[in-house]
Symmetry: C2
Subunit: 412 residues, 2 copies
């Protein structure tokens, strides 16, 4: 692990000053190579899939693990999109002349070496390598042991593309051992790794955060809320709530908890219930919700903390926007919250006072996503405030250094 770290650090000095052309050649070549090797990738991936079936992995797991022609095309498309993104590295901003005569600006620079720890989806191997290289960083990838054959083969194709672009091979390295101690070592390698990005279940991320000696860009859970304000457009409220909950059940920006102003409960809740009944979504409500929907299950306090990632939603009735904000700031995981309102003051209040990485007005929480925000791609979503918050694209993998231009000035 020390050796991998040291070579990644050494490579990072070269990749930091690589030209945009070199980085884009890498991305375009890798896209081409992936397409040309589609059959090989699928046949090697089948080893991992067969192993997963042997150990009775569940369907969702196998689905995430499996590569198809469509998956591989999507990865190649993603690479071409990253190639087209602006190269941020070396850009200067905020230039100003100071009274002393010096000019001060900030230059965007890479973080250095990224350590990425992730579970089964092997497409992360390609996506993360692409974003790391485009942002001038080296990356060390530690995928799930279940996708080891796929990842090792992808590493070969990545190395080939790096060579074509005349970039150091060590700028993308895959940890080939499935030994868990590799992760423990990796997250303490402060001499060589500048940031750890874990992707996976909450327990994995919590464990890494607790033990890491290196800064972590972490994404815990997405207990997302929608608040139906007193001044909501009810049709919009129903359609947005339906979309946020049911468009996809298992994503981190899926709606998990609904907060309804009491003035709208009588009209809004029965309309929503009808749709949710059709889609088999279970509502777990507070006592006041039950007054309007007597057949539903009572919510326990724990329900309001829950990221269900499934066909369940909690519901709380409040009497004011203040109470809504207080409830949400208490139970939310600070991922994404939306207010449905036609009242500008309430919209502004919600946006200012809700302490989450994305705060929305009159739209679906499902939009909290790097592509939907125009970042071009995302390496993860940060529920932290430090360094990067919300969807993390290229900029989140960079830092700013000060550059100072003088002509002989000294300090007096």
């Amino acid at each position: 692990m020390e050796e991998i770290g040291a070579s990644a650090k050494q490579a990072s000095a070269k990749i930091a000053t690589a030209t945009s052309d070199q980085k884009n050649i890498f991305l375009e070549k890798l896209a081409e190579i992936l397409i040309n090797h589609t059959d090989d990738i699928i046949s090697i991936n089948k080893k991992d899939v067969d192993n997963a079936i042997t150990i009775n992995a569940d369907d969702a797991f196998i689905d995430r693990l499996t590569f198809s022609h469509a998956n591989i095309n999507l990865m190649a498309d993603g690479l071409m999109k990253v190639a087209k993104l602006n190269d941020l590295i070396g850009q200067t901003s905020n230039k100003k002349r100071m009274p002393s005569g010096i000019e001060v600006a900030q230059m965007r620079v890479p973080l250095g070496v990224i350590g990425m720890i992730y579970e089964s989806r092997p497409n992360v191997t390609i996506d993360a390598a692409a974003l790391a290289i485009k942002s001038g960083n080296s990356i060390i990838l530690r995928g799930g042991s279940e996708s080891i054959h796929t990842n090792k083969y992808l590493a070969l194709l990545i190395r080939e593309s790096l060579n074509i672009a005349n970039l150091p091979e060590a700028s993308v390295q895959i940890i080939e051992t499935t030994d868990r101690s590799a992760v423990t070592e990796m997250i303490r390698l402060i001499k060589f790794i500048d940031v750890i990005i874990p992707r996976g279940g909450k327990s994995l991320i919590q464990k890494i955060t607790n033990e890491a000696k290196i800064p972590v860009i972490k994404h815990l859970d997405g207990n997302c809320h929608i608040y139906i304000d007193e001044y909501a457009n009810i049709e919009q409220a129903v359609s947005i709530t339906d979309n946020a909950k049911t468009q996809r059940l298992g994503t981190c920006n899926t709606l998990e908890s609904l907060v309804v102003n009491s003035k709208n409960a009588a009209i809004f809740l029965p309309k929503l219930k009808k749709i949710f009944d059709d889609k088999s979504i279970e509502i777990r409500g507070c006592e006041r919700t039950k007054e309007h929907l007597p057949s539903i299950i009572s919510a326990k306090d724990q329900d309001f903390y829950e990221e269900y990632l499934g066909p369940i939603i909690s519901c709380k009735i409040v009497d004011s926007i203040e109470e809504a904000i207080q409830h949400i700031n208490k139970y939310s995981s600070s991922h994404t919250e939306s207010i449905i309102t036609e009242n500008n003051d309430n919209a502004v209040k919600f946006i200012r006072e809700i302490d989450s990485s994305s705060v929305m007005i009159n739209t679906s929480t499902r939009f909290a996503d790097g592509f939907e925000y125009g970042l071009g791609a995302e390496i993860g979503i940060s529920t932290d405030k430090f360094h990067a918050r919300g969807p993390v694209g290229l900029e989140g993998l960079t830092s700013l250094k000060y550059v100072v231009f003088g002509s002989g000035q000294i300090r007096t």
Copy 2:
């Protein structure tokens, strides 16, 4: 400690949405109160100073601990300057309309609760409180035990000013116990504290970084370099080197190591030696430096890693800018480095390839400072890349959340 943390967190929600007026009233009132209580502050500070004399603290320590009329005026001026700075909180930027119809922007928000751990200088108590409040954060202050009487009294004056501005008292809290376990508890209080900022000796900061469970904005040492390029203006090189080393010996942006291109060594080094001899600065040089200055002491490898903070400088002769960059990136602490050159290509190469928080051309490393960079004030200098790099002003104490404006959009 839990109680202090919880109340700071609670207060942070209020201070986050305080108006600019409220925050500025706090700052202006505190300035007024400090001036009005100058005599009381000095007499209470005398207790700490007397105690320090009793335990035979050294002169530099006592100097840092002691308040004078001039100090107190400076603090009050500082507060008025912070009051005049723009309020960043609530500002939105990067607004753009996406193909889906939603508008996405980023809003500047406070980090939440700052934990500040510092050694003797009690003016930090006032400076840090001012920056925290102006940037919408709560702060918990843990000063050195030697300044406990001064800090407790300043806390009283701060509370009075918070009350006048109708801001929660718990937004600035001072830990009144001098028990060291308070620090250990504080740096693990992840539930309530969002960032730790330590200021003090390298060993304190390293200990905190090792043990903290919370992100740390850390400033380790300042082993700053100047490289005298082949194309340097020699008069400028001499004057800048002299200023960077001798204007103040004990600051983190003081020059500690000189790298000289061999083509200039014969003319530059004797000129510099003459000045340094007059000022009793000792040069420790590599073997090639000794060929030009036979009377100097030989530098050991360890010398090139040293932050002397005193009248010593190391010196290395190199044959190319590449060798200079390699030497600096190896030995530097990534604080501040400057190149003296009239050659644009070399200047650009140096700026791009030196991996430090400030990189300069033709000027003195002593300019690496929040005031000289126009930040208005600084709470510290970060030698990290993560979150904030270089001098940390108001912006370093904030984060960006995404705000999304819709009109009924759902994701398809």
